[in-house]
């Protein structure tokens, strides 16, 4: 049960991650998407909100690489602009829900008994509250603050994460290595974060990568309620939603934002798997 020093753990993990071909390809792809979102507007002649009513619904071509939408706006510019918002929301909100959910779930599962029952009933309550009205109330109280977006998304997305973490924690807390750590007199916090957490990483990372697309699409729902991005700004969620409605007449409106959405999810997913392997305490022990 020797624990490697922090730096060498990180170094080891990075070495292992680099050995994972799939993860490295994904990381590369993801960086490209990130660059596309950040720098894409520089390459485009058009602004994301620039309209040309003479050129609506143009198919992709030399002039407009990804085609144009119903107001003659360049889809390349809109997709790359939308990427900034979607990636920011997707990753930040997922991170927030990850932190809350994992901590909450571990505390609940580790303590068990009355504390566990109480904490889990709160989760039950939060699951049930009407989301639409919750968001509307948030906006009434705090105005249209962009931070609210994370709060609203965070409030729903951490719940399942907490339950999954709790279930794993309960299963792990009777494992031999945890019992051994108890015997060695380690503190609860240390046991939770140094012994239990690393063994939870698999399901957590997977669920986090599953949360990213859910969050990106939830953002489109929230913008329906007036929270989040305002027209004429775009996000992948809203672009995909609009594209889906025009699927058969102008398929590019769905396929380009959809493609970027897919590639980033794919790569996040394989990066996640690679990370899990790389950080796996068992493999580092061998």
């Amino acid at each position: 049960m020797n624990e490697p020093a922090g730096s060498s753990l990180g170094k080891d993990a990075w070495m292992r991650l680099r050995a994972n071909r799939m993860a490295m390809i994904s990381l590369f792809l993801f960086l490209i998407i990130l660059l596309f979102s950040l720098l894409g507007p520089l390459f485009s002649k058009y602004r994301y909100d620039e309209q040309d009513l003479e050129k609506v619904f143009l198919a992709p071509g030399a002039e407009h690489w990804f085609g144009t939408d119903n107001l003659g706006r360049d889809l390349f510019a809109r997709t790359s602009h939308g990427g900034r918002i979607s990636l920011a929301v997707g990753i930040l909100a997922t991170f927030v829900s990850l932190v809350i959910g994992v901590t909450y779930g571990m505390v609940s599962g580790y303590n068990g008994g009355k504390i566990d029952a109480f904490l889990m009933r709160i989760v039950d309550i939060l699951y049930s509250l009407p989301f639409t009205i919750f968001v509307i109330l948030l906006m009434v109280m705090f105005g249209r603050n962009f931070l609210l977006l994370f709060l609203a998304i965070g409030a729903v997305e951490w719940l399942t994460m907490a339950r999954i973490t709790r279930a794993q924690t309960i299963s792990l807390k009777r494992a031999e290595f945890v019992l051994a750590a108890h015997a060695l007199g380690y503190s609860h916090t240390r046991i939770l974060f140094h012994h239990i957490l690393p063994n939870l990483l698999g399901p957590i990372i997977v669920y986090a990568t599953l949360t990213v697309p859910a969050v990106m699409l939830l953002e489109a729902v929230l913008s329906f309620l007036g929270l989040g991005v305002q027209a004429p700004m775009s996000s992948w969620g809203s672009l995909i939603k609009e594209g889906a409605e025009k699927m058969d007449a102008a398929p590019w409106l769905l396929s380009f934002p959809g493609l970027f959405f897919c590639i980033s999810l794919f790569s996040l997913n394989f990066i996640g798997d690679g990370l899990r392997d790389a950080l796996d305490p068992k493999s580092s022990k061998d």
């Binding site: 994972n20 799939m22 029952a117 889990m120 009933r121 039950d124 309550i125 699951y127 049930s128 509250l129 009407p130 639409t132 009205i133 919750f134 509307i136 109330l137 009434v140 719940l159 399942t160 339950r163 999954i164 709790r166 279930a167 794993q168 309960i170 299963s171 009777r174 494992a175 031999e176 063994n199 698999g202 399901p203 990372i205 997977v206 669920y207 990568t209 599953l210 697309p213 699409l217 995909i240 939603k241 889906a244 699927m247 058969d248 769905l254 959809g258 959405f261 897919c262 999810l265 794919f266 997913n269 899990r276 796996d280 068992k282």
Partner: protein, 306 residues
């Protein structure tokens, strides 16, 4: 065990009461009322309508009245679907959503579980990458894209299945596939993760060292504990599935419960919001209870202690 069930049921009561209370006040504090519309109603008519539904009483009085009726099992009349009790509307639409949700879940499990297990056993091979990539595609295609896409292929082009409606068994295929494929992806990903987590544990090695056959190792030992994350996920997921999906219902024109969840909030149909929320809450609470049982049964460590 019996005391465990009993204590959980006792916990459920304050939980549901808390949900009812919070929801009650949340709906009332949201701007707009059930009778607001673009055509302005004369003030005296609005007053009349409000007094008919008891909305003119002090808010706390309304709350007590609602709770009193609730304890008698009365969810009250809908403000929007006049002439209907909330419980009637839920009673009509729940069987529809239940059928659809169960079918979707079955599809999700039939596809998701084997895919996840294979991927875990053959980690980092083509048998891993292929099903997992398919699963990712399932996640990348949100239902509002997949639904119309399936209709385009199976209905408009191949003319095999009806594009909408809820009249015969054939109407069940497309919507439950749309919903099911999405959840299948989740199930596959979580199964794989859970399996991988278990396969590395010492007791699996011990089992194999003792000479258990590989199939037995998977079935008897790895699978049970490996399913923990999926099972945990399935609790809320199943509650969500059987309480209807607004998107699927509107794409396929299905008279399910999901529509009421969404429109009740938009209509400020207070009783309907409360009714659907409480219904969903009951589902969540009881399913989470069931899941906690399942977890105890699946988890070998927990069983050893019993």
């Amino acid at each position: 065990m019996r005391s465990f069930i009993l204590s959980r049921i006792l916990q459920a009561i304050p939980t549901l009461l808390a949900i009812a209370t919070i929801t009650f006040f949340m709906t009332r504090f949201a701007p707009g009322g059930p009778f607001d519309s673009e055509k302005a109603i004369p003030e005296e008519i609005k007053v009349q309508l409000e007094s008919h539904f008891g909305l003119d009483l002090p808010l706390f009085h309304q709350y007590l009245l609602y709770m009193k009726n609730l304890l008698r099992g009365d969810l009250g009349p809908s403000f929007k679907y006049l002439g209907w009790q909330v419980s009637e509307l839920i009673g009509i639409s729940f069987p529809v959503s239940m059928t659809l949700g169960t079918c979707a879940l079955v599809i999700a499990l039939i596809i998701g579980l084997p895919a996840g297990i294979i991927a875990a056993l053959r980690k980092n091979t083509i048998w891993d990458y292929l099903p997992m990539s398919l699963a990712m595609i399932g996640i990348c295609l949100p239902t509002f894209v997949l639904g119309p896409l399936l209709i385009l292929v199976f209905s408009s082009t191949l003319n095999l299945l009806p594009p909408l409606g809820w009249y015969s068994w054939s109407d069940l295929v497309l919507p439950s596939c749309t919903l099911g494929l999405f959840y299948a992806a989740y199930v596959a990903r979580l199964t794989r993760a859970g399996m991988l987590e278990t396969l590395k544990h010492d007791y699996i090695r011990t089992a194999r060292a003792k000479g258990a056959s590989p199939a037995r190792v998977v079935y008897k030992h790895a699978l049970r504990a490996g399913l923990l994350p999926v099972v945990t996920f399935l609790g809320p997921a199943f509650a969500g599935l059987v309480s209807g999906s607004f998107i699927i219902e509107s794409i396929f024109f299905i008279p399910g419960l999901g529509k009421f969840f969404v429109t009740a909030a938009f209509n400020r149909d207070y009783t309907m919001v409360l009714g659907t929320v409480l219904f969903y809450a009951t589902l969540i609470v009881s399913l989470n209870l069931l899941i906690d049982f399942l977890q105890a049964w699946l988890d070998p460590k927990a069983r050893e202690q019993k």
